[in-house]
């Protein structure tokens, strides 16, 4: 198809972004009869050619220490320029490709708990979601069925059960940690980590072969990505036009200023400007880029950005904070070396122990992932070489004996929305495409710092209760660049929110933002399964509105 041939067409929906939200929205809309155009800044990546997941470290020039495993996948920082200010500068990362960051995600898939939607009502902080768990439950069901999520029905309120493929098994170290948790209290329980990974063949994709390299890209597509499931499903309907190498730069309104009409985009290879006309527009670029696109789309009706009459676009930026501790279990030292690879890093998770009763010093919750054995998936396992003393023959023998006993704990904690945390447009810096660059503003609050302190103490207590020795612990909490949410929050009040409960703009009825931008408050759990459930619900509503002629 000649590229400029799409210009005279009018699509029912123009979707910007083909990641977790965009892919699902395209599938849902196309399956309901909508003619959809998906604009994606990146290109297709062929998993069997592009992913280096099975490369041995010694086959790479720097043994993997210069990110050779994922080289060429993340956006070139020289082009995707941005600025980051505040006392805890937040990183920004884009994966420009069909499927976005789902290509390299570790696929942890959790439902939010009932309480996670009602932080304000229960604890007086943040904003409540205008919908509850019961509104999303049917979409969680469908999301899990479509993605293929492995797990066990654990009957825990903090992490509601769903429909699962067979659960991952525990390695010996994980088992030992799990058994020791009762020493810390009944609120500490380890469950099988739930992941969108095929522990059996599902959705036309093969069973996982447990090589432990999910985060380097799954070369057999046993892990769910938007590129191996959602986008192909959309394309199979015959109603989806996927345009790659297309950078959306503005949404234009019609002459009344009430309706979005065109998406203006740049052809990445040629620099030429194009536009596509749509009855409705759905943004799915991720919370940072979706907010930027709205802020870039100024007009006389929306001088402070499209759909931004509330002034909330870009605000309420939240993510998770990560802190890890590694060590080894004394009873496993000198044990037999077996293949402990499974799926990337963690097979056990301790859900938020403060879900029922928040900690006295901070309202934030966090979960603790548990990984053990000789698997090298995360690379950080090798840090133990610095924790074993001495040098020479005995040092070498000691390292060899310690290797099968390794264990890693990874905390992932909630952050609260704060006026200090938001994204806007940098007034001076331009990115490689000549557009005003993203400017991240971030500062960790007192409660986040108190939580990080607790994480460190609790991880040490867990390892010691399990008969372990701590060999290293992260010095400070890391801001997770893959979990940003909240920049176009949903709510009932148009003066204090950007979107209604269906992710529809309060200000422009045919404009939707279907990615994690809509989350008002965000717990400690990975966002993607909820992003997919929310996008499914929003797409279903949009399709219905189109069918009725309301949009």
């Amino acid at each position: 198809m000649n590229f400029c041939e799409i210009e005279p067409s009018e699509f029912d929906v123009g979707i910007v972004g083909s990641g977790a939200a965009g892919g699902i929205a395209a599938k849902e809309l196309c399956e309901r009869g909508a003619k959809v155009c998906v604009l994606e800044i990146g290109e297709w990546k062929d998993p069997s050619k592009v992913f280096r997941s099975h490369a041995w470290p010694f086959e790479l020039p720097y043994h993997g220490f210069r990110d050779e495993y994922t080289e060429g996948l993340y956006g070139d920082p020289a082009i995707f320029r941005y600025s980051s200010v505040g006392s805890d500068p937040a990183p920004y990362v884009i994966l420009p490709a069909v499927g976005g960051k789902t290509l390299l995600w570790a696929a942890h898939s959790w439902r939010f708990g009932r309480r996670d939607f009602r932080l304000r009502a229960l604890q007086g902080i943040g904003e409540d979601w205008p919908i509850g768990y019961q509104d999303l439950a049917p979409y969680y069901d469908r999301a899990e069925e479509f993605m293929g999520v492995c797990g066990r029905r654990d009957s825990l309120e903090v992490i509601p059960d769903g429909r699962f493929l067979p659960p991952l098994e525990f390695r010996c170290g994980e088992l030992q940690v799990g058994r020791a948790l009762s020493k810390l209290g009944p609120q500490f329980k380890m469950i099988s980590t739930r992941k969108a990974v095929n522990t059996m063949a599902h959705g036309g994709r093969p069973q996982c072969h447990f090589c432990g390299h999910c985060s380097r890209g799954c070369d057999v597509d046993a892990k769910y990505t938007s590129a191996n499931a959602a986008i192909p499903a959309a394309l199979r309907t015959g109603r989806c036009t996927l345009v790659t190498g297309a950078l959306a730069k503005a949404i234009l309104l019609d002459s009344t200023g009430n309706r979005a009409r065109d998406i203006v985009f740049i052809e990445v290879k040629s620099g030429r400007e194009r536009r596509v006309r749509c009855r409705a527009v759905a943004l799915a670029c991720g919370p940072v880029e979706s907010a930027r696109l709205l802020l870039l789309s100024t007009s006389k009706w929306f001088p402070q950005g499209l759909g931004n009459r509330s002034g909330e676009v870009g605000k309420n930026l939240q993510t998770t904070i990560n802190l890890g501790t590694s060590g080894y279990l004394k009873s496993l030292v000198g044990g037999r070396v077996v293949n402990d690879d499974g799926t990337d890093a963690y097979h056990g998770t301790i859900p938020n122990p403060y879900y029922e009763k928040p900690h006295a010093k901070f309202p934030n919750g966090y979960l603790i992932n548990v990984g053990s054995g000789t698997q090298l998936g995360y690379g950080g396992q090798l840090d133990f070489v610095s924790a074993v003393p001495g040098f020479g023959r005995q040092y070498k023998k000691n390292l060899r004996a310690t290797f099968p006993a390794l264990v890693t704990l990874g905390c992932q904690g909630q952050t609260l929305a704060s006026p200090t945390n938001y994204v806007d447009l940098d007034p001076a810096l331009r990115d490689g495409f000549g557009l005003p660059a993203i400017r991240m503003h971030y500062r960790l609050g007192e409660s986040e710092l108190a939580m990080v302190d607790d994480m460190r103490k609790v991880m040490r207590a867990i390892l010691e209760a399990a008969g372990g020795v701590v060999t290293s612990s992260d010095r400070s909490g890391g801001i997770d660049y893959s979990h940003y949410v909240g920049t176009c929050r949903m709510g009932i009040d148009p003066e204090r929110s950007v979107l209604n409960p269906y992710c529809q703009s309060h200000d422009v009825k045919n404009l939707f933002v279907v990615d994690g931008s809509s989350f008002p408050t965000y717990p400690e759990k990975n966002p993607t399964e909820t992003v997919i459930a929310v996008a499914m619900r929003a797409a279903e509503h949009l399709a219905e509105e189109l069918r009725k002629g309301n949009i």
Partner: protein, 204 residues
């Protein structure tokens, strides 16, 4: 979608690539009924070809250190992770070359740590034993390192900090080498498993 009916190939040069549904499905190997073209095992077997391409690119990289500095690094490798009856040592495993390549592309501050550290080590060897570090006898070299390693968990000087860093990088380089990872540690992973690993040993 009417456009795909003529089976037009996607244009890849000069224009944005708009992929027709038919081309895409063929490329991904998804049959209309949703099957997979290649089994996991077949795809896994293709992975070495990609890696061979990478290896060719990597070996041409030049190094950072002078021959004298490299000799000192090789000596450190021999001392910190020597060859034994179980496996080759860090020097035999190519760790000096690995460090040379890695430091070449590292930040200036990292390069400075190594340049200064090696110089400080030389100075220390001269002062305590009257000779350059690489030419000392084995026992003397071990005494030098033992002195530096005494405070390895709370280094007091720049040289003690350098010992910590040299030990770390030598060990990281060794245990990601074929000799270190597969021969010494006997790493069993990075392969094709039919089911998830699980604990076979009884709880202790």
């Amino acid at each position: 979608m009417e456009r795909s009916a003529n089976g037009e190939k996607p244009r890849k040069t000069g224009t944005t690539c708009v992929i027709t549904r038919r081309e895409l499905l063929r490329w991904l190997g998804f049959a209309a009924v949703g099957g997979c073209a290649l089994s996991s095992r077949e795809i896994f077997a293709q992975a070495p070809r990609l890696v061979r391409r990478l290896r060719k690119n990597g070996s041409a990289t030049a190094g950072f250190f002078t021959p004298e500095q490299k000799k000192t690094i090789a000596t450190l490798c021999d001392l910190i992770l020597p060859a034994d009856s179980d496996s080759p040592g860090a020097r035999e495993a190519g760790v000096p070359d690995f460090i040379d390549r890695l430091i070449k592309v590292s930040e200036g501050a990292t390069q400075e740590v190594w340049t200064k550290g090696l110089a400080d080590l030389e100075q220390f060897a001269q002062k305590s034993h009257g000779s350059s570090f690489a030419t000392l006898e084995g026992a003397q070299q071990e005494r030098v390192l033992s002195a530096l390693a005494e405070n390895e968990f709370h280094p007091h000087s720049a040289l003690e900090s350098f010992f910590v860093e040299a030990k770390r990088l030598i060990a990281m380089g060794y245990y990601t080498s074929e000799a270190g990872l597969r021969k010494d540690l006997k790493f069993q992973g990075n392969t094709y498993l039919a089911q998830s690993p699980r604990c076979a040993e009884p709880a202790r």
